[in-house]
Amino acid sequence: MDEKRPLSFYILGAFFVLFLIFLYGPTFTIGILSFQGPQGGLTFPMRGVSLHWFDQLFRQQAVGDIWGAFRRSLLLGLMVMAVTVVFSVMAGMAFRRRFPGATVLFYLILASLVIPSILVSLGVGLIFSQAGWRIHWASSGFGAQLTWTLPFGFLIMLAVFNRFNGAYEEAARDQGANTWQVFRHVVLPLIAPSLIGVALFGFTLSYDEFARTLLTAGSRNTLPLEIFGMTTNVTSPVLYALGTLTTLFSFGIIAVFLIVALTVQRRRARRASDAGKGVA
């Protein structure tokens, strides 16, 4: 770029950096405190510096079962993710044409987004206990989380299909593809990037969901509940170690994602090079 950026760029840039610092405030604190010495606690001052708590993270805690809860949260997150993706796509497809009841359903889905999570938790818990069903993270908890992830997935799919060019499907049908083939070979690959977004969204929302699982998890805790339960005893910087690892892990994933994206981009660009071919 041979032009100077305007002053507003620097002012807004500074604002953005401040915003980032603010966002990362807790993350920094967690990062620093996770290196507490073995005698240290959850607050300042630091008592020595060590990797003690990272080591402890992989051992058994006094209370609770972080890794068991982690596995459950992971599994639940994956279940929620899969169902969110599939159901959202289906609903998104349904909404591509008008059908009687569409508006009502649309507002129901919106309502699902804005209804306070504790109400869902309370309601689902009540239903299950009044009906005498067993409350379990994979049934009631799963359902309660879906009321949160589905609307997000659905809205994203709605946006995606709003911009989806129907000519691709017509072309595929013209080429003899049946309904399923049209979906499998044309629609699905084209919306795949957005599906990754929906999946990530679904997983993250589920993985960190506290309120909706509070009364619906049953006998075994998900990770957020477990961490909350752990605070009923002496919790140690192990939690911070977990936080720091999570952050590093996310950085890793994003880095991998960017690298893959860039490589694919570059490979495609190379394939499209006209070098030595003469202009057609």
Partner: protein, 334 residues
Amino acid sequence: MRSLLDLELVSVTKRYGDAVAVNAVSHLFPAGKYVCLLGPSGCGKSSTLRMIAGHEGVSDGAILLDGRDISHLPPARRGTAMMFQSYALFPHMTVLDNVAFSLKMKGTDRATRHRRAGELLELVGMSHLAQRLPAQLSGGQQQRAALARALITDPQVLLLDEPLSALDPFLRTRMRTELKRLQRELGITFIHVTHGQDEALALADQIVIMNNAVIEQAGTAREVFNAPKSEFVARFMGGHNVIALGGRRHALRADRTRLVVPGAGALPGISDGIDATVTSYEFLGTHVAVGLIGPGDAELTAMLPEESFFAAPVEPGHAVRVGWHDADLHQLDA
């Protein structure tokens, strides 16, 4: 002469809710011809084409191809293939895979379908770009790829909805020559929707002019251009003046419209014309189009060879007389 492979519309109607987009249209598309569907925006061209292709249901009437009623068959079983306006190439597949798509859907094995797709790419001169993604192609290349994809199903009728409108003028002229060549080589029917009359004239063996959901006139390019039936056709085809004489309307080709500057004396063989005023002129390279206002505020255009125009230029505001050979006047139906 009617061949078995003809495509026939029998009183085909398309309604969207209350609106009638195509109103009981009947027409026989002769086999192996290049047909252009021409008409102003919203006249029902696309709807007609999409009904033939099977992407739109027929509200009334029947579509016959090869003697069978195809109006209720799925698109792929009609013997038609469609090339879409913006080509609708699958952006996530290479050109080769795009072309081989319909064979893949049929379950043809990989080697066979790639070989066949390769042949069609060869036909449209795109073999060297088989591995590109559509986004990496220029407009003209995309068009050829789309053409190859449409042709791989061996259609009897190829339907093209404004295939050239996404190209720049330079490319447009080149691609239309190629389309015409391809049609001639393949010998199948092309039905090409456009709203450019020059495109239709250049390409079509038969031009079908639609207006307000019905067909106004159908015929060869020369018939339509030289003998427009209605004022609408004459105006829409361009290059015509419509002149009211003795209560009847007549079409007069603009290039047969002569200008006589008052006082310069009549030209031999030119009938006594009408008075007009020059409003503008446009240089078109070989010709100059002179805009005129005649009696009753009628807009007229005289198309003069540039050398004769510049030999005796007129400026806006000049009073002139407009004349013609009587043989060039063509009486209109309505």
